[in-house]
Amino acid sequence: MNYSPTAALGQFIRRFTRMGKQYGVEWWILVAGAIVILGVVSMAMFATVIAPYNPYDQDTGPQLSPPDSEHLMGTDNLQRDVFSRIIFGARTILGVAILAAILSSILGISMGLISGYAGGGFDKVFSLVMDSIYSFPGLILAIAFAAMLEPGVTNISIAVAVIYIPTYFRLVRGQTLTIKQELYVEAARAIGAPGSTILAKYIFPNVIATTAVVFTMNVADAIMTEAALTYLGLGLPPSVVDWGMDLAMGKKFLPSGQWWLITFPGAMISLLAVGFTMLGEGLSEILNPRLLEK
């Protein structure tokens, strides 16, 4: 076996394309999404290195100047560099969206597991609450929560997280109910395995695969919700660099022809959301392949 790096790379590429041949276009969709996400994530991680200016620096160049070689995305009315603000804004939106998704998944999954397994009145009450939140327009609830809490990264993440908990809850609870009936679970119970073991060993692993897809779609949606909240002026203080807020502040200048203030934030929000959606779509097709394809 050849262990040189080039050989390893070659193997990787071969495996990669084999996956592509096996799964078809879906694989490439997934890959495309992953590339976009990786791009934005690295932008966020290496922000201090990549960004040409400090995003708060109010003296980077002329006021409201269009994109040029010095300022790839132009400057705003406080003479800040838009490109740098986009780069640092990636941190905010990724941070909030992923934190929110993690919060809601942890809460939703654990509540779904417990409620599904426990059953009875407890389950009925929880399901009722969750169904109510699920059927209600999420953004509106998030607006109410964001208005209630003081603007800040943690708080906006909470506001966004709340509306996705029911998604995980319903998914996991449904699966828990099904798996609960399985023979091997009954057997485990017969030999005296405690509920927690059953949940952890049997039910949870079965649930993970579908949850992964939901998670990526959740992040995509959380990105849109976060951008909508900050666009409306809720959730984050102006001291945080954020694409949605920059969009809101920049739209005043659109009739004057200063298009770069809203084009880039809007494009980035769309791009990032598309990236996660494509990842999710690709993942979903691969994990739950459509049978009897023609």
Binding site: V25, L128, S132, F136, A144, Y231, G244, I262, V274
Partner: protein, 338 residues
């Protein structure tokens, strides 16, 4: 039929606790908000005494539980109370603003369906072709475009540069809605009043907002239609129809689509929530005097009763539509009644 009736009743009764849950959540959220409405009303110069007196008058000094109880009782009497800031009953404010949102969402939904269903069916038909992936890509991308950004773009392109459409409001600045306003649904009102000029004005103001919202939502619809159509197209009777020599296009767009229609209908029920959320953002972008804008304004003013009222109405609408959809579905598919 007896089972259907039982289902309807059961399903309706289920709506009530759901509404109750939502109302309670909203009540807590709204009361916990910092800042109080009395300052908004009386201003910075008002002496302490007057502020306290006003708070007492509005019942803001009682413990939260008591306020909650009063609130629930009011709802039971279908009384949404009066705005804390303006001496207008919440009900009349909602009556003013609700039709605007209804008109917007209705036509947006039409556009969404008009774009989503044909394209979704076409994509399902041309499975795994370039057109399919193209349409799917469009579906993904358009939904990920923030609706307010798309709105701004359309405003600039069609409203300003090309100057074809107006960019804000339901009627032109010189058109006075009081001359035809009856239900608040201006399309209906202008037709009833026989006022063609006003009808044209109202229609042209609907274009940009509804197209914006409708296009963004069509993204989901395309994907959902496609998924449903794929399922239907797999069925044996489709194969049989093709074998019998029925023209392929008729098979897809007539037989398959019709069969896929019912699941699509239920999907519509689920989309109402997203439609409402999108409406809030569309209304702020186009200065549309609807419930979405009302909600945001009253949040700024901490007008608790109105905020609660708006959310109640949203919840009721969503509950009603999903109830209707469920019942229709149960009517069509008897298995669901059990």
């Amino acid at each position: 039929m007896k089972n259907l009736l039982r289902y309807i009743i059961g399903r309706t009764l289920l709506t009530i606790p759901m509404l109750f849950v939502l109302l309670s959540i909203v009540f807590v959220v709204v009361r916990v908000m910092p800042g109080d409405p009395v300052s908004a009303m009386l201003g910075g110069h008002a002496p302490e005494k007057v502020i306290e007196q006003k708070k007492e008058e509005l019942g803001l000094n009682r413990p939260l539980i008591v306020q909650y109880g009063r609130y629930l009782l009011q709802i039971c009497r279908l009384d949404l109370g009066d705005s804390m800031i303006f001496k207008q009953s919440v009900m009349s404010t909602l009556r003013d603003k609700l039709p605007a949102t209804v008109e917007l969402t209705f036509f947006a939904m039409l556009i969404c369906l008009a774009v989503g269903i044909p394209f979704g069916a076409y994509a399902a038909d041309k499975r795994r072709s370039a057109q399919d992936y193209g349409i799917r890509l469009y579906g993904i991308v358009i939904y990920c475009i923030p609706v307010y950004w798309l709105g701004l773009m359309l405003q600039m392109i069609f409203g300003v540069w090309l100057d074809i459409f107006p960019i804000a409001g339901r009627t032109g600045a010189r058109m006075f809605s009081s001359t035809f306003d009856r239900t608040g649904l201006y399309i209906l009102d202008t037709i009833v009043a026989g006022n063609v000029e006003a009808l044209g004005d109202v229609l042209i103001h609907l274009v940009l907002p509804c197209v914006t919202l409708g296009l963004v939502l069509s993204g989901i619809f395309i994907r959902l239609t496609r998924a449903n159509m794929l399922d239907v197209l797999k069925a044996d009777y489709i194969l049989a129809a093709e074998a019998r020599g029925i023209h392929h296009r008729r098979v897809v767009y007539k037989h398959a689509l019709l069969n896929a229609f019912v699941p699509i209908l239920t999907m519509m029920g689920l989309q109402v929530a997203i439609l409402m959320a999108g409406a809030v953002l569309t209304e702020t972008t186009f200065s549309w005097p609807g419930m979405g804008r009302l909600l945001l304004e009253r949040i700024y003013l901490r007008d608790y009763p109105t905020i609660q009222g708006v959310i109640v109405i949203f919840a009721v609408i969503v509950a009603l539509i999903s109830l209707v959809v469920d019942v229709i579905y149960a009517f069509i598919d008897p298995r669901l009644r059990y």
